[in-house]
Symmetry: D2
Subunit: 312 residues, 4 copies
């Protein structure tokens, strides 16, 4: 992550300000407000604003005239009940806004979550920064053999070196040509007076998908939990998962009771099908159950045994 001195100064100025408010305030999140958390080689996540805290969830669930319940312990019990039983609307009553910088191929995966508000830096209007994501050597994974959509072992030796070289060289070359076509450098200076410069909205097409972009991204707490349950999961692509993990820390600071309930009920849990639940009940009753008499396909059986931590 590379901030210009001017960007650093803008952030420091915002952090120095303090105004009294009557609103619900989350002190642990205030501590880190505006401060970028580095992610990948040039990316970051920083919280820009938030609305509500744990007690706001309770307040909405109760359609209350005051704040939450009388006791924190009651708030906690209600929040855990709401999350366990998927009463989702009270969690929609809190909102958080991030500023993030990430590679374009990560942004493309991210934006499939349509329940957020987004303002992306416009490459029709402005020139993108000369920043590309180049994976760390330990993230240079081969295609998985068993999973068409996953990673296998880490590449080694010459193959790894060649890949890193190609990624670096191609990103630099295409960016150099982007600047040449624009006829304008990153500071907006004209390069060659004899040229017109290609329109920004066209020149951008020469950039590679590991070029960094940035956006403001705002979402309510319910949809944030849904996003995190998918993207902080082990099955998510590493390059988006590291962003989700950085956001887990802001979640914990913002709404600690909701965070704990989320960890207890969503993370690390499992969904059992009716037939799968039946198998578990029989096993607990001491019956011997096999795939053939379970009503499950071989694949379903294997997945169930994995969940239960048993040999298939």
């Amino acid at each position: 992550m590379d901030l210009t001195p001017e960007q650093r100064a803008e952030i420091d100025e915002a952090r120095a300000a303090s105004t009294p408010t009557r609103r619900a305030t989350s002190p642990a999140l205030e501590e880190v407000l505006y401060e970028p958390v580095p992610v990948l080689d040039h990316g970051f996540v920083r919280v820009i604003d938030y609305m509500g805290d744990d007690s706001a969830v309770v307040q909405a669930a109760r359609v209350s005239y005051g704040k939450g319940t009388k006791k924190v312990s009651n708030d906690e019990g209600l929040i855990r009940y709401l999350l366990r039983h998927r009463h989702t609307t009270p969690f929609e009553m809190c909102e958080i806004k991030y500023h993030m910088k990430m590679p374009i191929f990560v942004a493309r995966q991210w934006i499939r979550h349509r329940t957020a508000n987004v303002n992306e830096y416009s490459a029709r209007y402005s020139v993108l920064d000369r920043e590309f994501y180049i994976p760390e050597p330990d993230q240079l994974a081969a295609q998985s053999v068993s999973n068409r959509q996953g990673r296998g072992d880490v590449l080694k030796g010459e193959e790894a070196a060649r890949v890193l070289d190609l990624l670096r060289t191609d990103a630099q070359n295409t960016y150099d040509h982007y600047v040449e076509m624009l006829n304008e450098d990153e500071q907006g200076n004209l390069i060659d007076e004899g040229k017109s410069g290609l329109a920004r909205e066209l020149a951008r097409m020469n950039l590679t998908l590991n070029t960094y972009t940035q956006w403001y991204w705002k979402i309510d707490l319910h949809n944030l939990l849904h996003f995190l349950s998918l993207r902080a999961d082990a099955h998510a692509q590493y390059e988006i998962r590291v962003y989700a993990e950085a956001m887990m820390d802001s979640l914990k600071r913002w709404v600690p009771l909701t965070y704990q309930a989320f960890m207890d009920y969503r993370v690390g849990g499992a969904q059992l099908s009716a037939k799968g639940l039946d198998v578990v009940k029989k096993m607990l009753a001491g019956e011997t159950v096999g795939q053939e008499d379970s009503g499950l396909s071989k694949r379903e059986w294997r997945e169930l045994m994995e969940v239960l931590g048993r040999d298939a």
Copy 2:
């Protein structure tokens, strides 16, 4: 609007609190935070929380590291430009949350706006208050003769008296029977030990549509403007329009620059069709244009002349 002493105390307690925050703060909105504004005979609107201010719109439009632009005058110019040209996403970056009380038939119209988050007071779970909307005599309008969906002159004399009497009596009777079927009064006291009491989720069906309900309602600034442009409009039903008007005041306090741009560009403006615009151009050029040669139907012509303030 009738607050219990306990409700009043809860509101006062919330208003008395003050916490420092690094977030964008809107002082004029802070002044009225939590305070209910009476609407209709028993309803109210009160702001519970908000996120962002005018500068947050600018900040998101610029995907900025700091706050807004350097000068308020620049912020204003950009906000007006964004609103005029329907660049809507930066306005989605501010959020506001209300607590409202309103008659059920108003709530039913309101909830067609699906872009908000809602937590309604549950009549499956709790007993509704004994409060019904009875129109003021000057709002007791006859069915419009020209507009199937509108109001005509105000009812008078015996007819008005009879209507008011029916509305009052029926609401009271059905509420009395609601309580009787529940076998539980509004304070939750058992009425007759020999009875079981009908389930709340069933008993509520006996209430009339002017019974008051309440909810928490949260929306982003863009969608709030859309809601207000429809519901603060003269064509909206009076009983929802008065709520929208009360919300216009909170809009003005919250984001004064956006409010002014909204008043200038959306409120009182008009949409001209291609053919309608053509008619205006010809008229301005001194040509005589009539309905027959305008390409407009008689109805469209009449609507255009109305917009232009001319005789059809």
Copy 3:
């Protein structure tokens, strides 16, 4: 359910039509197209239109040039995989449209699902039918003692008779007064020439919440499954559950493979928390686990034992 001869004729006319199409067609759903299925005493559900079938889910998942996969058995395997692993977007590619008639208090609960498109019959514009929901005696349940949001035993004897009488009488009286205030009967005939008649948008407020309304309601297959998983569930209020059950039949006709996967993976299944899963693993390994050492609260433990069909 009471159709006028004119309504019956309109439905028969629509059912008699047949046009060739190149689109995916679902023969079993075509059979019942437009035909109302009675629900409650005056309500119905009927399918008006649909888009796509099981193979359309597969086609979208594969971003295919043709239809689905080559074999039905492959389509089935892929659909089950997608549903099991919550790859939801391909299910959004099918759409269904219903016409329904239901009591207003049911419509109010229903419309909280914001992911559907809705056109409701307008009581600002038209006069509502004289139809009210009166529960069958075996649905006249007392308030549950253990669950504030549920039903207990069925009311009996005098209490039941009194409740039914109140519901019937109040609905009739308020409807009679509605017509009187409108000064217009259900056929639109003027009642008293000396009166103006109250505006429809006001008169409707005198109706009780068991009055029937109707709407067109359109939703994609993914969101329909979500709706049905909540509303066809045993915890849903009976009066909405019977609608969801009628819709389960149209689901089965429309997309039989998706229906079967839905029954196998969503209906009757259970969500285990991380700690709950841990308890199950220990039990399967022959360990004795109790609530105290499980990390679960008493309530959570009781809920888990219920899911597993064991004594708490």
Copy 4:
């Protein structure tokens, strides 16, 4: 647009099928169903499925038991009324599904419209085709001098030649390296047995933004009209506008009455602010009005005069 023989055969097979249906059918759209319309150098748009027609809009607006009104002329009048007065929900009752191929930078702009359902071809799972967008010489526009977000004159001579050469060469090189890193050619054949091959989810990041992607995209008629009003507009970037224009033809075939109303009321029309409308009224009344006494800023005045086709 380049279809493989297998893709062509799949499309022909789908087009050859014909099944009877009771559903509303749009004959002119059936004619072109499944058939790709070429857009840009390798892209296309083809309609995969649709639900409803003009009469379905009317049917929903009336919450009807049959189809539309009795006469086509009444349907037309009602559709025009609904569109003119922005009664949008009946238009949400029709749905259309497209399969499209487009450059990634176009897809990125497109997906900001969040009201559609999308299934994109997965470059985590599959290898993308060797196809890149290279603009026609007459679209090789310079950056606009007056509009930071627009195009100016067309580049000429050496500058144009150099730009085309860079775009072509960079796309080819980065694609060649993509294949090399994957160690797998476009047909899925292993290239070098001694190598592991980089994971697809990583290798894709080396592609340039003019690489073609494809997706299934489904939207309702109301949101389609909104999309087209923005993207078929002269201010939209050329590379997305040509897609919108191809879709205008399918709109015309699908719902001809709605299409005509859309052309008359939305396309080529203008939004006047309250102050702008005031200026027009004064001008029509023969008054002389200038920018200074109009209450409009210089920029607003200039924009108004442009709309009215007058000198500023």
